[in-house]
Amino acid sequence: MPQVFSAKSNVLARATFLIAGLMLLVIILAGMYMTPYTHRTGVALDQPTPFSHKHHAKELGIDCRYCHTGAEEAPYAGIPATEVCMTCHSQIWTNSPLLLPVQESYLKNIPLRWNKVNKVPDFVYFDHSIHIDRGVSCFTCHGDVTEMNLTFKTNAFEMLYCLDCHRNPEEFLRPTDEVFNANYETPPNQEDLGRQLMEKHAIDTKQIEDCWVCHR
């Protein structure tokens, strides 16, 4: 009887088995790698006008709260109303083309439409004010915005990301008066400091790890 398969087929046959196994592994790894947890950060989105946090917050030293007024009392930090921009820009750079959209918005009473850079899903209830109040700095989650010419998100707000901090806040907490300080240096004894702050603010990881803290 003649051979059904050529000599090469032996190698082939075994190769197929190996490849199948490898593929499985690759798929799993790829799946893990492609989770948003590691992705879509550091990408600046187009905006109606190329607003530079670096210029305003760093070079001019404007405080976060001047524009993001809600941060301290409300769930939403808030995006400044056009009139806030116009408080200065009605005097300076009045004829800069970059500011046309802003002026137009102000005159025609049509809001600017910014693209959302940092967002969490609808079923996540995030409250800026309480984080600020407990000593979580803006820069802890949003990265050093004062170095951004165009704004991008530095962290993907995935559940694990939030859990990192909700599980061990001591690594991130700041004294409340340092929350808005862009030039804050994390002290070498952060761990101890963090624990003191947790003590002070009665922060209980047992409590902030509950599902209902974010999902309702």
Binding site: F5, G31, T35, Y37, L160
Partner: protein, 468 residues
């Protein structure tokens, strides 16, 4: 074959007639192999394929509409959160068990009569488990995220809840399927090889050759093969018991009167085997007629299966009686109401037909005449299939529809879509079986030869020792 030789066999294996007298090694190879390679399929094959495909298309429609519209198209409600889906799941899983039992447990028990029907039974297991496996996925409110039931690293930092019997199910069922598949395939390898070597068409040669993995029946291969096969059997035996025990825990772990029962695992397993054998009979009886396999699947095989059916049937019936006893003996208001409600409540008709199907009817199998009467056996097998489905219906529905809070009691009525999905899975199952019979050796060739050899030379036992 000479008359003398024939007499000798009779002497060898007494009255037991497990393999036609006239058979030799080559005749076995050709008889079984030709079903796949040469012999044109009988018209019944096409008819049954037609029905099967009809059912299959029904399944597809039912699933499509389900995914589009949502669980609401079914009869489920609050309080009866589980309906046909889970009933069918348990039913199918149960049916699967016969396959493993026949091929694994009976192998360990040295029951020679298992050979020749075991391949069919194993295949049945595979398709039954596939049918069963569909339901837990489809009955999810959000089938799209079924994979949350598996533990895998993810950006949520979330894991399944390993305390939940449903997660146990995921592991049990997938393990059960994988192991059964391996067992089935390993058993096929030598037969695939002999088909490869008999095939005339190149394409068939390649196909069979590919699946046979270049098996050439080398002595050392056979040795490792046998020990692996025996080990698989050894593994499947506890597995098959664990699987239906775990399925029964879906109910037993809960607190619902009628579910919260310690006797569930044993009597679920018994029930599984019970229904499984019934299904084997339902499949085998027509098959051996259509393919003229009466000499390979003999009346003795059927007799044996009937006996097992009877035994397991008795265990199941005992289970029912125990339930009734507990309900009375516990003095628990919920338990006793549950039982009273089963017997006299709105679903009592189902309960009593269940008692008939699984309790009364099987008693006829005490009589040898009945066991060896094809018609009786076939009807019996159907009754048992129905009975076992009813059992799951009673367990799921009557327990839920009137449990703790009288204010929440309500009825469950299946909808058209419930039924279509159920019929659909039967279609899927048949399609699988029908195609299998045509495409792969439905009876293990090598093992039959081995059986034949033992039959001709009585030293079966000596050889078994060596094997073990």
């Amino acid at each position: 074959m000479s008359q003398a030789l024939h007499d000798k066999e009779i002497a060898d294996i007494g009255t037991e007639q497990l393999i036609g007298a006239e058979h030799s090694n080559s005749s076995l190879t050709s008889k079984i192999g030709d079903i796949v390679l040469k012999q044109p399929s009988p018209k019944q094959w096409f008819v049954s394929l037609g029905f099967a495909l009809l059912g299959l298309s029904g399944l597809l429609v039912a699933i499509a509409w389900l995914l589009y519209e949502g669980i609401g198209i079914w009869g489920v409600n609050i309080p009866v959160g589980w309906g046909f889906a889970i009933i069918n799941f348990v039913w199918w899983i149960g049916i699967g068990h016969a396959g493993t039992l026949i091929s694994a447990i009976l192998l360990l028990m040295r029951q020679r009569w298992r050979t020749s029907i075991n391949r069919l039974a194993e295949t049945m297991t595979l398709f039954a488990v596939m049918c069963a496996g569909m339901f837990p996925l489809l009955h999810l409110g959000r089938p799209g995220v079924f994979y949350w039931l598996f533990p895998y690293p993810n950006a949520l930092g979330m894991w399944p809840n390993f305390r939940s019997p449903l997660v146990w199910d995921v592991f049990a069922v997938s393990t059960y399927f994988t192991v059964s598949l391996v067992f089935w395939y390993v058993g096929l390898i030598p037969d695939l090889a002999s088909l490869r070597d008999r095939a005339k068409k190149r394409i068939v040669q390649v196909a069979m050759g590919f699946l046979a993995l270049g098996w050439r029946g080398s002595a050392s291969h056979w040795y490792r093969y046998e020990s692996a096969y025996l080990l698989l059997a050894g593994l499947s035996t506890p597995l098959v018991v664990s699987v239906h025990s775990i399925v029964s825990l879906d109910f037993a772990v809960s607190i619902i009167p009628g579910w919260h029962t310690t006797i569930f695992p044993p009597y679920f397993v018994a029930g599984a085997v019970y229904s499984g054998f019934a299904m084997v009979l339902t499949i085998v009886i027509p098959l051996r007629a259509w393919y003229k396999l009466r000499d390979l699947i003999t009346i003795d095989h059927l007799d044996w299966m009937a006996r097992i059916t009877l035994v397991t049937g008795l265990i199941v019936f005992y289970g029912y009686l125990t339930e009734i006893f507990y309900a009375w003996y516990s003095g628990n208001v919920f338990e006793s109401f549950m039982m009273a409600n089963r017997m006299t409540g709105p679903y009592s008709a189902f309960y009593w037909s269940l008692i008939f199907c699984n309790g009364i009817a099987p008693q006829i199998l005490w009589w040898r005449a009945a066991r060896r009467n094809i018609i009786v056996l076939f009807v019996m097998s159907l009754i048992v299939n129905i009975g076992m489905w009813l059992e799951r219906f009673i367990i799921v529905i009557t327990s839920l529809h009137a449990d703790f809070m009288p204010s929440s009691w309500d009825m469950y009525t299946p909808t058209f879509w419930d039924i279509l999905l159920y019929v659909g899975t039967i279609g899927f199952f048949l399609t699988g079986m029908v195609l299998f019979v045509r495409l792969l050796p439905a009876i293990p060739i090598a093992e039959m030869k081995h059986l034949l050899h033992q039959k001709l030379h009585g030293h079966a036992h000596a050889s078994e020792e060596v094997k073990a």
